[in-house]
Amino acid sequence: MTTREKILANIKANQPDLRPLPEQFTFVSTFPDLTKQFIDVLTFVGGRALVVPDYAAIRSDLETQYPNLTSVATTIPELADLADRTMVVSDPHELADLNLAIIEGPVAVAENAAIWVDETQLPQRVAPMITQYLVIVIRQSTLVPNMHDAYKRLKVDTTGFGTFICGPSKTADIEQSLVIGAHGARSLTVYLLP
């Protein structure tokens, strides 16, 4: 008997009689204003959110926020002129000195300000973590109220990797003092297009 067979046999012998899955495991969240809810939570977790009318507004805010910043990459054609390098590399280590990554988020969740991104948006999985600063552009029309709605909208294995990102990386491991910028991005700015 292999270890696998032994473990599975022990489990089969010891597991209790079959219990059904619950009928209700999704719930409805109602927020008067999805955009406001998203922005409030993102601000609470240390991110910055900005409602913008178009890409020109994003460009002008980025130029104010990050003047003269080099090593900038984006996957968004409308903002391509802001970039001086690409995230499309074969070895993820090449992104080690990336300063700013600007990517799109296809689905965002109002209840917790989490934004889903997968390999459709990410040329390299490590991009949103290894970059010093992260910008995600979403559309207000893609906001869903809660996580149940997000999973209804998503297929998690469309690509080999996907992640919900909620705010900049952080830690409170030293005496419970919150520090923004642990191993991932030091800041997260989210632009909300119509």
């Binding site: 292999t2 270890t3 696998r4 032994k6 473990i7 022990n10 489990i11 089969k12 010891n14 597991q15 209790p16 219990r19 899955l21 209700q24 495991f25 999704t26 939570v41 609470f44 993820p92 280590h93 080690a96 209840e111 917790n112 300000a113 989490a114 997968d118 390299q124 999985r125 490590v126 973590m129 290894i130 809660n146 996580m147 149940h148 999973y151 998503l154 998690v156 294995d157 080999g160 990797f161 996907g162 992640t163 919900f164 990102i165 909620c166 900049p168 952080k170 830690t171 409170a172 491991d173 030293i174 005496e175 419970q176 003092s177 520090v179 910028g181 642990a182 191993h183 991932g184 991005a185």
Partner: protein, 458 residues
């Protein structure tokens, strides 16, 4: 002070010697508990979510065999190699072999309580492999050669001055530095270099999805992602109970996990791994290590529903005032105290007694584990099996003798009242654990029985 070689009560006495530190520990964890309360109160459906999570996990326990088989099949189809380990030794050996096969001697690792349970770091170090823990709290305790004292906040027993000293010694930060921002930045630089140079990365698993053959890892720091996405080989280690049936069930668990843990709406990163990136190897090690035995114990199998949020630690009056190291087990606190006796009844016989049975743990548990009932039931099992503390056995026997005989009971009452009144030193001394940190009560002049007889006559 080495609390790890002591039983819980003795280790708690050590921890309590530094009163300001214990007060800080107690208040800080209670603050985390209040953050959890605020987060929970924001969701009107909170109790229904707990019920749904509990029922999904009940189903998982009852359907474990088929779900694991389904997960394995789908994971393989995704290009992930699946390994099975019956115990800690097999788990450690599999991981060691994978590191050797990669031709390297160094590995970076994000948080995994399973690898703590299996003492992986010790094993690999003995075999000449250099392991670096990348979660900040875990890195701090690793430098200090200590185990984590909390499953979510590994360095919660330390003050920033302790961390400053440790970093001064190991990372060359300024002597006397205590600013968390400065210290965290130093760790960021040090670990960034580690992430960029390691070819093998190990992560834990929060949830494994049977339907899709993928797994989810949650962190705030981004350390699991930094390690895994930069490595040629990604190893994920999971206890088999981490399985859930479908991706849509993640909606329930991800809404509960971080809110229960720290009061956050969700962790910064909730990463779903389904296939290795081009050129990468991805391995999953599925571990039993006593879990199938626990699954066969009707009174205790529910402990396998745990999602490791640590809400029961933060709320526990005993944990908050005794510290994680008092539990001499990878997982401290109430949940650890019902898991540990399954791993070694003799070694962990003291842990189910490290509780007031107040029930707060069960009330905050996001998957509704009956933790305090199980603590009580473990006590029965341990006493019956002869693993109970000797002093307790003697005291219980003496008490039973006294309570069985009305004459003895009355005499004992009289003696007790007499001692407290005339020779209080016999009760008020350091050999009486009930006197430590307590005032002894004023003894009544007579027992209720005497009072009743006297008044009835009148």
């Amino acid at each position: 002070m080495n609390q790890l070689n002591l039983d819980h009560a003795s280790a708690a006495v050590e921890f309590n010697k530094d009163e300001p530190r214990v007060d800080w520990h107690d208040e800080t964890l209670w603050f985390v508990r209040t953050k959890r309360d605020r987060a929970a109160a924001q969701l009107p459906e909170w109790e229904q979510l707990r019920e749904a999570a509990s029922q999904i996990k009940n189903h998982v326990l009852s359907n474990m065999h088929d779900l694991l088989a389904q997960f394995e099949e789908n994971a393989k189809r995704n290009g992930i190699t699946v390994h099975w380990a019956e115990n800690a030794d097999e788990h450690n050996a599999i991981i060691h072999k994978l590191i050797q096969d990669a031709g390297v001697t160094r590995m970076v690792k994000s948080k995994s309580m399973l690898t703590e349970e299996c003492h992986l770091n010790d094993y690999l170090t003995r075999h000449g492999i250099d392991v670096i823990d990348s979660d900040l709290g875990e890195r701090i305790v690793q430098m200090r050669k200590e185990p984590p004292s909390h499953i979510v906040l590994p360095a919660i027993h330390l003050k920033k001055s302790d961390v400053g000293e440790t970093f001064h010694e190991h990372l060359g930060t300024e002597k006397g530095a205590t600013d968390p921002q400065y210290l965290t930045e130093a760790a960021r630089q040090h670990l960034r270099d580690t992430f960029l140079t390691r070819k093998v990365a190990l992560t834990g698993v929060n949830f494994a999805i049977a339907e899709t053959g993928g797994f989810v890892v949650c962190t705030n720091e981004g350390n699991a992602d930094m390690g895994a996405h930069l490595a040629d080989v990604h190893i994920a280690a999971m206890g088999f109970e981490k399985i859930i049936p479908r991706a849509e069930h993640l909606g329930v668990f991800l809404r509960l996990l971080a809110r229960s843990a720290t009061g956050q709406p969700i962790t910064t990163f909730s990463s779903h791994f389904h296939r290795p990136r081009p050129g990468q190897q991805m391995h999953i090690v599925i571990v039993d290590n006593g879990r199938s035995r626990q699954l066969g114990r009707p009174d205790f199998r529910n402990s396998l529903k745990c999602i490791r949020c640590a809400a029961c630690l933060n709320t526990c009056p005993v944990y908050r005032r005794s510290g994680g190291h008092s539990y001499h087990s990878a997982i401290a606190g109430p949940i650890g105290s019902i898991l540990a006796p399954n791993l070694d009844m003799k070694l962990n016989a003291d842990l189910p007694f490290a509780s007031t049975l107040c029930g707060s743990c069960s009330n905050v548990c996001p998957v509704k584990i009956d933790i305090h009932d199980q603590l009580y039931k473990w006590r029965q099992v341990l006493m019956k099996e002869g693993y109970g503390p000797g002093s307790k056995t003697a005291a219980m026997k003496a008490m039973a003798t006294v309570l069985e005989s009305p004459g003895l009971y009355r005499m004992a009452g009289k003696i007790g009242r007499g001692v407290l009144r005339f020779t209080p030193v016999l009760a008020e001394n350091r050999f009486n654990p009930w006197y430590n940190q307590r005032e002894m009560p004023e003894p009544p002049a007579e027992s209720f029985r005497d009072w009743y007889i006297n008044n009835k006559k009148a």
